[in-house]
């Protein structure tokens, strides 16, 4: 599988996760008093890294480790 195609799919998923404003543009549930609008987007950063690691770790290219 092509690294860039998998990455493009991941990018599309990320666009959807943040574009769903009605899903997370809410006050409650809160975490430590922080409204969902803020914590959802912050936690999504962790999700972003995990999703971006999928193409990086699973789709190897033969020249990756060449220096």
């Amino acid at each position: 599988m092509n690294f860039y195609i998998v990455t493009a799919v991941v990018f599309l998923i990320l666009i959807i996760l943040y574009a769903l404003l009605p899903l997370y543009n809410k006050v409650s549930p809160t975490i430590g008093g922080l409204p969902m609008f803020y914590w959802y987007q912050t936690i999504m950063l962790v999700v972003t890294s995990i999703l971006l690691l999928i193409p990086v770790l699973l789709v190897k290219e033969p020249d990756e480790n060449k220096r």
Binding site: F3, Y4, T7, A8, V10, F11, L14, I15, Y18, A19, L21, P22, N25, K26, V27, T30, G32, G33, L34, P35, M36, F37, Y38, Q41, T42, M44, L45, V46, T48, S49, L52, L53, P55, V56, E61, P62, D63, E64, N65, K66, R67
Partner: protein, 533 residues
């Protein structure tokens, strides 16, 4: 003690910590030239640290680009003044690194295969064009100016409370003098150590910033109450903030964003436009061309959103500040939203820690300014001056770049005077509008050579023209306060509008050229972009 900064935890200890840490920083900057020694009279050694950075160091270097005055000063300032729209920086970061992963490994590979140092180098061969790389180099140069200016506003934002608390009467003179001295030190070590010095100091500054962020985000909620208290206080206290900064006497709603389409279009287009623009900046290109292997490029990009958590937490300081009414009062009294983070830190943490945090923020403006100036110097030397001075010797190229980077830092100082400090983020957004117009030849160019160079040039021209014009129009030809333009589908970040115009012209022009018999004449083979020789 000045009455404005009454009770802020700044004393002689703060100043001593600030100065001592700054001396350590300067030492590291100069030491950079000895670190992993290379021949610094070569441009790739000076500007790309010899392309020897592993993924972890590169992660720090790219993170240093992220943890700048944009993050500590501009974003919290916008969130304080305008509410939830300021949080667009979070999806911007998330999307930005996905964009990096799509383009950086390709540009890195072709740059290594063919010895490129800038994106314009690549465009020149890809489209066999002389005009396009010059256009790209000049855009990169101009777009970095407001971004560097933003760093200077960030540095001022920690100097102002210090001088206020120490009762210095001539604040403006004292601030200017402190900035000038810092810039001279910075210019000297950038000249001697190039990107190596910036990387070493970048690691140092990021450690300071991470410590500060974590201490504040844990300590403040425990000591004075968390976000619940802050949001409750904001209902009454935010009216004073609104009237001091926006001249509107209404409370600012922070708890959630307005549920209207106008918010969504502005929010998402700001995030998308910024994400597309980020990795076109010359300093960012330098950053992702410097790793030792393609694997390092990819790993670093995938892990950078973790760095973005720091950005999100710092942005939230703009809400947390309401749990400390004295800190809010300082922002109101100075009518300066840029003081949000320095004020919250100054009123909550012990004076020695304030010194540590402030010097972190101060260096946090200084290091990115250096990285940006290196990026610009690279571009101007290789892609503009060298175009007209073909047989420039390699050591002259490096020397010229060093002098340009020095001069450029001082030119950027001038930019600070045209934007209200609270809206410092508009400087970065203006840079984004300009640099986004180089997307078609650079990013699309990494995937196809079937774009006609003259169409790309006309598209670029139309993108820059419409971007600048709409920015002037949206601000009523006055001071820069907004980067969004009201369209029939709602307000949109002007970078996105101008880029759309640019893309349409580039594609339609290419279609017409094809019909008239034009065929791609690039010098780069597809496998040179995908596979390291």
């Amino acid at each position: 003690m000045s009455s404005i900064a009454q009770g802020i935890h700044i004393d002689i200890t703060t100043v001593i910590v600030f100065i001592v840490v700054f001396i350590v920083f300067a030492f590291l900057g100069f030491y950079g030239s000895r670190w992993r020694r290379g021949d610094l009279s070569k441009l790739s050694e000076w500007a790309l640290a010899g392309r020897k950075l592993g993924w972890f160091l590169n992660w720090f270097l790219m993170g240093a680009d992220l943890f700048t005055a944009y993050t500590f000063i501009a974003v919290p300032s916008l969130l304080l003044a305008s509410g939830p729209v300021g949080f667009f920086a979070v999806p911007y970061v998330a999307w930005g690194f996905a964009v990096e992963l799509l383009i950086a490994p390709r540009l890195w590979t072709v740059a290594r295969n063919r010895g490129y140092v800038t994106a314009a180098d690549f465009v020149k061969d890809r489209f066999n064009s002389r005009l396009l790389p010059i256009a790209i180099a000049l855009t990169g140069t101009v777009a970095e100016l407001p971004y560097i200016a933003l760093q200077i506003i960030g540095m001022e934002a920690v100097l102002i409370p210090i001088f206020l608390a120490l009762g210095v009467s001539a604040i403006k003179t004292a601030t200017d003098l402190a900035l000038l001295v810092s810039f001279i030190i910075l210019a000297a070590f950038v000249f001697t150590s190039g990107l190596r010095g910036a990387t070493l100091t970048g690691v140092f500054k990021d450690l300071l910033i991470w410590i500060t962020v974590l201490v504040v985000i844990i300590y403040v909620p425990l000591a004075v109450g968390g976000f619940g208290v802050a949001l409750h206080n904001a209902q009454t206290l935010s009216t004073a903030v609104d009237s001091a900064i926006n001249h509107v006497s209404k409370p600012i709603l922070y708890a959630h964003a307005p549920t209207v389409e106008a918010f969504a279009s502005a929010y998402l287009s700001l995030a998308l436009g910024s994400a597309l623009a980020l990795f076109l900046y010359p300093h960012a290109v330098n950053g992702y061309l410097s790793p030792e292997s393609k694997r390092a490029v990819k790993l670093s990009a995938a892990l950078l959103p973790i760095y973005g958590i720091g950005l999100a937490l710092i942005a939230l300081f703009a809400i947390l500040i309401y749990s400390v009414p004295n800190a809010v009062n300082l922002v109101v009294a100075t009518k300066n939203g840029a003081l949000t983070v320095p004020s919250l830190i100054g009123y909550t943490l012990p004076s020695w820690f304030v010194g540590l945090a402030y010097v972190g923020i101060f260096i946090g403006g200084l290091v990115p300014a250096a990285i940006m100036a290196i990026g610009v110097a690279n571009l101007l030397t290789r892609n503009v001056i060298k175009e007209f001075w073909k047989d420039m010797p390699e050591h002259t190229e490096a020397t010229l770049a060093k002098w340009i980077s020095t001069a450029f830092k001082f030119v950027a100082l001038a930019f600070v005077f045209i934007v209200p400090a609270t809206y410092a983020i508009q400087l970065q957004l203006l840079g984004g509008i300009l640099i986004a117009q180089t997307l078609p030849p650079v990013f699309l160019g990494l995937y196809t050579d079937k774009l006609e160079p003259r169409s790309l040039f006309v598209g670029w021209l139309a993108g820059i023209g419409s971007g600048v014009y709409l920015t002037l129009l949206a601000n009523h030809f006055g001071p820069l306060k907004t980067s969004a333009y009201l369209t029939p589908i709602g307000p949109l970040y002007i970078a996105v509008i101008a880029l759309s115009i640019n893309l349409v012209i580039s594609l339609v022009g290419t279609g017409i050229a094809y019909a008239l018999g034009w065929r791609p004449a690039g010098k780069i083979k597809a496998e040179e972009i995908t596979m390291l020789k």
